[in-house]
Amino acid sequence: MAATEPIVEMSDISIEFPGVKALQHVDFRLFPGEVHTLMGENGAGKSTLIKALTGVYKIDGGSIRVAGAPRSFSGTADAQSAGISTVYQEVNLCDNLTIGENVMLGHEVRGHFGINWAKTHSAAHDALVGLGLGHLDTKQPLSSISLALQQLVAISRAMVTKSKVLILDEPTSSLDANEVEGLFAVMRRLRDQGVAILFVSHFLDQVYAISDRLTVLRNGEFVGEYRTSELDRSQLISKMIGKDFGALAALGSNRGRTVDADEPAFYSATDLGRKGSIDPVDIQVHRGEVVGLAGLLGSGRTELGRLMYGADRPDTGEVTIGGTTVEVHSPTAGLAKKIAFSTENRRDEGIIGDLTVRENLIVAVQARRGWARPLSRREQNELCEKYLVSLNVRPADPELPIKNLSGGNQQKVLLGRWLATQPELIILDEPTRGIDIGAKAEIQEAIATLAEEGMSVVFISSELEEVVRLSERIVVLKDHRKIGEIVNGPEITAETIVDLIATEGTTP
């Protein structure tokens, strides 16, 4: 299957951004006629490696050889002309043009009087037939076909340029099972024609269904290159998340508390779901309980949290809070029912960088009161005093622009923002991502304390150890479904969850 000479050989690649080592001494080889998957958790450096290959980022060390010759590209267009095409997660086509125009854009067939549209469309048709898409009418607008088909149209562009290397960066994240099958059929067809395919996906089942080999990255470092057939799922997961659980083991409090399961739950949802985002899920949260949502990236963790808060509108399910049936269909409704949601996207959806710590802290309380009843300066100062001290925000200066604070302290202010609304249920999405270890411990402690005081907490994190340490119960998600629920206890470890995710049957 695999030829002896790699078409792409990246060795010892290092890339540094200000203050961050994005890639350190990473090796990557891609052979003609194989599907090679790049694996790693968020921030592991997958996208950075792809951008290094296509010349979007300059490499600080190492070498890139394409078809045996050292190359460095100036960008996507340059890489494309050397036979390396990239298809991204978001469809990068022009939906104001027809299917055929999109396939041939930049490569139109020209005659004596400019572009020969008849020949151009027939060339587009040929390219589509090559992918088994001959039924598409090239003269229809691109917007008339589904996203999945648009993704395939984007791939057919690569065929027009006779690309030898096809990079598919998370092309499946918005496709359903049937559509993925169609994509895979196309990928297999191209592979058999000798095209080298670099594939990125967060869905383990898909990775095992399509790839010949895997390269695993973790924190910008090269972990290893494996044959898919020789590495089972739990081995792969532990390679992705790393074995160094020890570093954080000393942090937080392993409380081992149990909540009286017979007592009716404070928050209870049955069949809560939203098409295209998460399959219907049952979930209960008791007073004073921390429920962890565990799963790999893209498993539906965040989506479930957003549904519970009302950030997205659920289209199935029934929710009871404190025994009464309620509808939580908007963030305003969520806030009114005393549910708070702290986003995983701290920079874009969380903090308002140019406003001060005080302004960032009070914004949710003010939103709840309405604009007609502004908080007095005295009330604002009291709130700041209370939460800056109790959450140990440093520096504890409420008048500093929040962008000047470290990530960990910004996160504390955000936590304070939601606590100030005095919620009864707080949903924390990745509250400890990307912050230093000290701040992490403080936030974990704060969460534990809140639960002790009777608040219900839903805790979402990609760090399984953290979920295990903090939660009384853990809801495990995979591929947008709930695959299990674990009552925490001394015998439960991150490995337990990894095993559950790995062994759980394939997607139906």
Partner: protein, 350 residues
């Protein structure tokens, strides 16, 4: 493989492959052409209304005057079609006409070779367009601001040259561009007359049409308007194209200055105030989306003619104060923008 062909993953229903559209369904207007068709309908409606209400609209002399008086506007609108198709805007064209025609008239009066003068007038436009393009592409200035700056610069330079009307000598060869050629000799003064300037405008329209629809440059213009990010990732020459469209817009403004100067024989620093907005209005009325990506150069021609015909009708009516012209222009514009919103929201739904 064969399973994929037999069971296409098309669409929500997973229905079998759609049959190729019949010739009849091809005739059905596409959503994108709807605003342009609406412009044509309105144009015809105006002609019919004018003919019934005032008479003497459908006749050679009116057609001739419409074309001769609006050839400069048609040329400007063609240039702006390129710019607006990419999602940009060029506010400098009116001021470019002022500086270009002033320089042209003053040099011609000093005895410069008329051909050299005409070439220089056009190149002045190109230079301003290039400057706008460089500001936008390499200094990341928004098109609105960059071309606004060029507008002030051009207008200021024109005022420094002269603040009084400069007359082009009546025997100047430049004026011969507006020689009236009688094509059809009608009764009395009802003749079909064209001028070289009308031919220039026609050539500009035809060339622009070919460039937009039959060259890669033209396709790139549409692609940029659809999604600049996508165009970049598809490896299209986005930088070069964006530079070029502002050069095209500026060059056509220079050409419009030649056409206008030959017709009027006078250049002044306040010539062309607000013409950029007339041209933008013509483009929008002609069905080009202000956000870019959809539109037709022929639509812009119709748009320019709608504006021209409106002026004719208002003059004929006599009871409408000329001051109301702008209100009516604004009203028509509003109707078209609302129509476009409708089209865009329909498109989202599909």
């Amino acid at each position: 493989m064969s399973t994929l062909i037999e069971r296409p993953l098309s669409g929500p229903s997973g229905s079998p492959a759609p049959a190729r559209p019949t010739p009849l369904s091809r005739l059905k207007p596409k959503l994108e052409t709807l605003p342009t068709l609406a412009a044509v309908v309105i144009f015809i409606g105006m002609i019919v209304y004018g003919e019934i209400a005032y008479g003497r609209i459908v006749q050679f002399s009116t057609v001739s005057n419409l074309l001769i008086n609006n050839s400069y506007l048609i040329i400007l609108a063609v240039g702006l079609t390129f710019v607006i198709l990419t999602g940009g805007v060029d506010l400098s064209v009116g001021a470019v006409i002022a500086i270009s025609s002033l320089v042209g008239v003053m040099l011609a009066n000093q005895g410069w070779n008329p051909i050299a003068v005409v070439v220089l007038m056009i190149l002045i436009g190109s230079a301003f367009g290039l400057a706008s393009g460089i500001l936008i592409q390499f200094f990341n200035v928004q098109p609105f601001i960059a071309t606004l700056a060029m507008m002030f610069l051009a207008r200021g330079l024109a005022a420094m040259l002269s603040t009084t009307p400069e007359r082009l000598a009546d025997d100047s060869p430049i004026r011969s561009l507006s020689t009236e050629w009688k094509v059809i000799d009608g009764p009395k003064i009802n003749d079909l007359v064209i001028t070289p300037t009308v031919l220039i405008a026609a050539v500009v329209v035809i060339v622009a049409f070919v460039v937009l629809h039959r060259t890669r440059l033209g396709r790139t213009v549409y692609a940029i308007g659809g999604s600049e990010q996508s165009a970049l990732l598809m490896g299209l020459p986005v930088v070069r194209t964006k530079l070029l469209i502002y050069v095209i817009s500026g060059t056509l403004a220079g050409l419009a200055a030649v056409v206008y100067t030959s017709k009027l024989g006078i250049a002044q620093n306040i010539t062309g105030v607000g013409w950029e907005l007339d041209a933008i209005a013509a483009v929008i009325i002609g069905g080009t989306l202000l956000t870019g990506g959809a539109g037709f150069v022929l639509g812009s021609v119709v748009g320019a003619l709608v504006l021209g015909l409106m002026n004719v009708l208002i003059t004929r009516d006599g009871s409408i104060p000329p001051e109301a012209t702008t209100i009516i222009t604004g009203g028509i514009l509003l109707v078209f923008v609302l129509l476009q919103r409708l089209v865009v929201s329909r498109k989202r739904k599909t």
